[in-house]
């Protein structure tokens, strides 16, 4: 699972094709090989191999002390991760899905996010919490939340949303280096996706957004599970003669305002795509920042393609109607470009 044997003369052209799931697994395994302080803890991460098979095989390599199955006690094992981090370890706590993380909110919000501040800078909490997020698999309302924006509301934690194979592979290493709590949201719809991992890449930053496709007519700003849809929409738009720029936020806290402003200062139009709800969410925050900093750059009203303001329904046609879709993004882009 390493780059050994690859002709380095090929340089940045050399890539490996792999799934998002394998990229996350490789990231965990390499971090554990490199640092004895790193361990994985969560529900069914060991014998079961992970709810999404992310940690399959890790128990065999690292044993039950470092690939630690927990009871269904989200508050206790997230808090235990925080305590272990305070005491010199570098835990990776897997909360099976964001839906269950609500049972651990006290530890995340009242402990992890606050201890550095409340202790006057004495107790930083270098914990990494990974969780699956998102809808689209007919799991109904209680298993389909997209609450990245909730967590991004809280000062004291960092919130990252790996959307590409490269970020899935390399964000974890940076998160483990970070002295403060980092939450990594893995959109469950991405685990089976395949992409190319450049062999010469390494740890990536947890601070900046990335332009995934250059364009000049409209900025499509998104993150996580919606990036693929945004890129698909941009392709269709180009056939329609509209040049769309796709900005992957990558990190929701801290939010890379400069990258958003830079993009809209070029295109003067924006469509925000967010699987989360529109009201009081990430898309609203982006709108507010543009209103504060770049209102005179804008040639058209902001448009938002977000999750409908309903609990996610089970029936497939209803669920799909509740989520951002490619044609909705294309329509919104045409609307602002024509404005």
């Amino acid at each position: 699972m390493t780059a050994t044997g690859v002709d380095t003369a090929i340089g940045s052209e050399a890539v490996r094709t792999m799934t998002y799931r394998d990229a996350v697994r490789e990231a965990i395994a390499e971090a554990m090989r490199a640092d004895d302080r790193v361990f994985l803890m969560g529900e069914d991460v060991g014998m079961y191999g992970g709810c999404y098979a992310v940690s399959k095989g890790l128990l065999d390599e690292f044993g039950p002390e470092r690939v630690r199955d927990t009871p269904l006690s989200e508050s206790a094992f997230v808090g235990a991760g925080i305590g272990a981090a305070l005491n010199g370890m570098r835990p990776i706590v897997e909360v099976m899905t964001v839906n269950f993380s609500l049972l651990a909110l006290d530890q995340i919000v009242n402990t992890a996010a606050l201890y550095l501040h409340m202790s006057g800078g004495q107790f930083n909490v270098p914990v990494v919490i990974r969780m699956a997020t998102g809808a689209g698999r007919q799991l109904a309302a209680q298993h389909s939340h997209s609450l990245e924006g909730w967590y991004a509301h809280i000062p004291g934690i960092k919130v990252a949303t790996p959307a590409t194979i490269t970020d899935a592979r390399w964000m974890l290493a940076t998160a483990l280096e970070d002295p403060d709590p980092v939450i990594l949201f893995e959109n469950a719809a991405l685990y089976n996706t395949t992409g190319e991992l450049p062999l010469d890449c390494g740890p990536v930053d947890l601070a900046t957004a990335a332009v995934r496709r250059e364009g000049s007519d409209v900025s499509i700003v998104t993150y996580g599970g919606s990036l693929g849809k945004a890129l698909e929409a941009a392709e269709i738009l180009s056939e329609d003669g509209v040049s769309a720029e796709v900005l992957d936020l990558r990190v929701l806290r801290p939010l890379d305002t400069d990258a958003i402003l830079k993009s809209v200062s070029k295109t003067h139009r924006i469509v925000v795509v967010d699987e989360g709800w529109k009201s009081v969410g990430i898309s609203a925050e982006i709108g507010a920042r543009i209103f504060e900093e770049a209102i005179w750059e804008m040639d058209a009203p902001l448009r938002r393609v977000c999750g409908a303001e309903v609990p996610i329904p089970y029936a497939r046609h209803m669920e799909q109607a509740a989520l951002p879709q490619v044609d909705g993004i294309v329509s919104a882009a045409h609307e602002v470009v024509g404005a």
């Binding site: 009871p71 206790a76 305590g83 530890q107 409340m118 800078g121 004495q122």
Partner: protein, 320 residues
């Protein structure tokens, strides 16, 4: 042994007089926010913490001034914290409920009931994984046993055989709710026992009983005996916080418990045993009064943090 007993008495007196002064300073509006006094419960922190080693860890609650003092945090730094001064032990960011000290391994000052228990489990997990023979003592009130975090943490600590000493300070009231009004099972040791933890009840008004139980339990935990649970039966003489009209308990009940004031009981006992003289007691009072007044003077003289620093300590200052 006599010196040790005098030390325990001295510690209890320090906590008592320090907090009495805090109450005055609260009335004088020097200390603001919530102020939860430990008066009446001193024997618990004094007996347990004196049984710990410097390398052991402590997780406490929002009623933790006493624990911090006994652990060896400077009284001036604690007082300055209550004043909200930058020279306070948490730089004025925490106040009365959030006293922290890295060197003393004093992990707060957690003001969410039950919130410190998972943290203690994690501290102990790291120690176990590192093979160090360190104990984490976590304090919480009997109100915390109604929280899910209590049950999750007890189970996890027992399941993983972690070196945690669970110290339940049962003062009979969760703010204003009596134990029998909130629990179907009021025998707290049974709850712990259901998670396979050795558990016993201790007279929390008797500092020597506390110390004996704590020492025994800590020794067992340190030796790899897994987590232990101690219930300390104690009583809060003062109101829950400074905003409490005490409508939920009879004055006579408070007076009855005051008959068993842990400080008076132990002082009288040491005097009866000839270990402490009237003069020795006076000198101890003077010594403590001087410490408390020095703490107040330190807090008064301490600086306020500049407002420009407001956004510090949200994230670590890397490279600083």
């Amino acid at each position: 042994m006599n010196d040790h007993h005098l030390h325990l008495l001295h510690d209890m007196l320090r906590v008592r007089r320090f907090e009495e002064r805090c109450a005055e300073l609260y009335q004088a509006e020097e200390i603001r926010g919530f102020l939860h006094l430990y008066i009446g419960e001193e024997a618990v922190a004094v007996g347990v913490i004196n049984s710990l080693r410097p390398e052991d860890a402590i997780v406490a609650t929002y009623r933790e001034h006493g624990h911090a003092l006994v652990r060896g945090l400077d009284a001036g730094c604690i007082m300055a914290e209550m004043y909200g001064k930058v020279d306070g032990c948490s730089m004025g960011r925490g106040g009365s409920m959030h006293i922290f000290d890295r060197d003393a391994r004093f992990y707060g000052g957690n003001a969410i009931v039950g919130g410190g228990l998972p943290l203690a489990v994690g501290l102990a997990l790291a120690d176990k994984m590192n093979g160090s023979h360190v104990v984490t003592a976590v304090f919480f009130g009997e109100g915390a046993v109604a929280e899910g975090e209590f049950h999750e943490s007890m189970n996890l600590a027992a399941l993983w055989d972690l070196p945690v000493l669970f110290c339940c300070e049962n003062n009979l009231y969760a703010m204003g709710t009596a134990l029998e009004r909130s629990e179907s099972q009021t025998a707290l040791t049974l709850k712990a026992a259901s998670y396979q933890l050795p558990a016993w009840s201790v007279d929390g008004m008797d500092v020597l009983a506390v110390e004996e139980a704590a020492s025994t339990a800590i020794e067992a935990v340190r030796a790899g005996g897994g987590p232990h649970f101690l219930e300390f039966r104690t009583y809060r003489f003062r109101a829950h916080s400074m905003f409490d009209a005490e409508l939920y308990r009879e004055r006579s009940e408070v007076e009855e418990w005051k008959e068993r004031d842990p400080l008076d009981l132990f002082r009288d006992r040491l005097m009866g045993d000839g270990v402490l003289t009237e003069e020795g007691w006076r000198s101890m009072e003077e010594d403590v009064a001087a410490e408390v007044e020095a703490a107040v003077a330190y807090a008064e003289a301490a600086d306020w943090e500049p407002i420009e620093d407001l956004e510090r300590f949200v994230y670590s200052e890397v490279g600083a």
